[in-house]
Symmetry: C2
Subunit: 191 residues, 2 copies
């Protein structure tokens, strides 16, 4: 059973494009739905969607209000429930402060990437850490081609990439979130 | 290491809607991308996208040709590689025949559902089966609110639902595919 606080963040800046330049990506509608549903299913304490542009956050607000108070809430109450844990913030700095306030502890920032890093932490070790009460973690995923090097370098912990089978490793961020939450949070006996 | 043949199918008919009526669902663009990328990453032998309507299969063909031969192929060759294992077929019956031809063995049909079923097979047992050479499996996912009861009843094996944490279990089919392929195919030591 998880005892530590765990929040998930999806960053749209600073992230890389395919030429490995630092960019701000646009919000993808299905990221919001799929990740909110996975975060609710695995009972993450909160899903923080990070975008520096107010117009993009406003767009997400409109989508959310349809599912929380508009036609979508009556059509699909499960979706409304998934979105209760979604919060819109501008940056990773805001997210850290928000989690500190919400959990009462300064969170350790855990970043994810498809590329291997030295001194990364494995899934068994991260599961063990999440069973210790009192600490707080912010698990960060990047859109586009992944989080910018400055975010990776400033993190407290780097989670090992999802080692799949061969050398091809191009999962969507939606798939990566689902797999990582399953590895960290579902009952090992049921897997 | 997997020794059995393993194919993945995404069915759009017969599936359920939220009122549990049997329907034919429309193709969702990101299902094609996310599931093809996951199938390639976990080295599934083929991803069979099943739709009874020729117009929907034609739409998918046009999307694929952009990524395989059009502008998308130059922009993102990884995506083109993911789509090499995608095949369009009309029905589950066609999929069985196709897998029989491709793998040389009549496949056992393994169905998935978010609901629990009696006599379902666990992940450890399914991993063990995939290590036995000579057999062939067709792992079937339903869009919408899941596969119709007739498909569940006719299957050779029912895979246990993804037991997450609590009672809320509303993952997208994209997330469910990612988690199930990870549970069945990634190296347990790396998880």
């Amino acid at each position: 059973m998880r005892a530590a606080a765990l929040y998930l963040a999806l960053a749209h800046h600073p992230v890389l494009n395919k030429r490995l330049e630092v960019i701000t990506s646009s919000v993808t509608n299905l990221d919001i739905h799929d990740i909110a549903r996975a975060a609710r299913t695995f009972e993450v304490d909160g899903f923080l969607l990070l975008h520096p542009l107010p117009a993009q956050r406003e767009l997400v607000m409109r989508i959310l209000s349809y599912w929380q108070r508009g036609g979508g809430a009556a059509y699909n109450p499960d979706r409304s429930e998934a979105f209760e844990r979604l919060h819109l913030l501008a940056s990773l700095e805001e997210a850290r402060a928000w989690v500190r306030e919400a959990s009462g502890a300064d969170p350790l920032v855990v970043v994810t990437d498809a590329r291997p890093y030295p001194n990364s932490i494995g899934y068994a070790e991260m599961r063990r850490r999440l069973q210790e009460p009192g600490s707080s973690y912010l698990l960060v995923f990047g859109t586009g081609w992944g989080l910018a090097p400055e975010v990776m370098a400033a993190a407290d912990l780097v989670l090992e990439p999802i080692a799949a089978v061969g050398t091809y490793n191009h999962l969507s961020v939606r798939s990566a979130v689902a797999i990582i939450l399953d590895r960290l949070l579902s009952d090992p006996a049921s897997r």
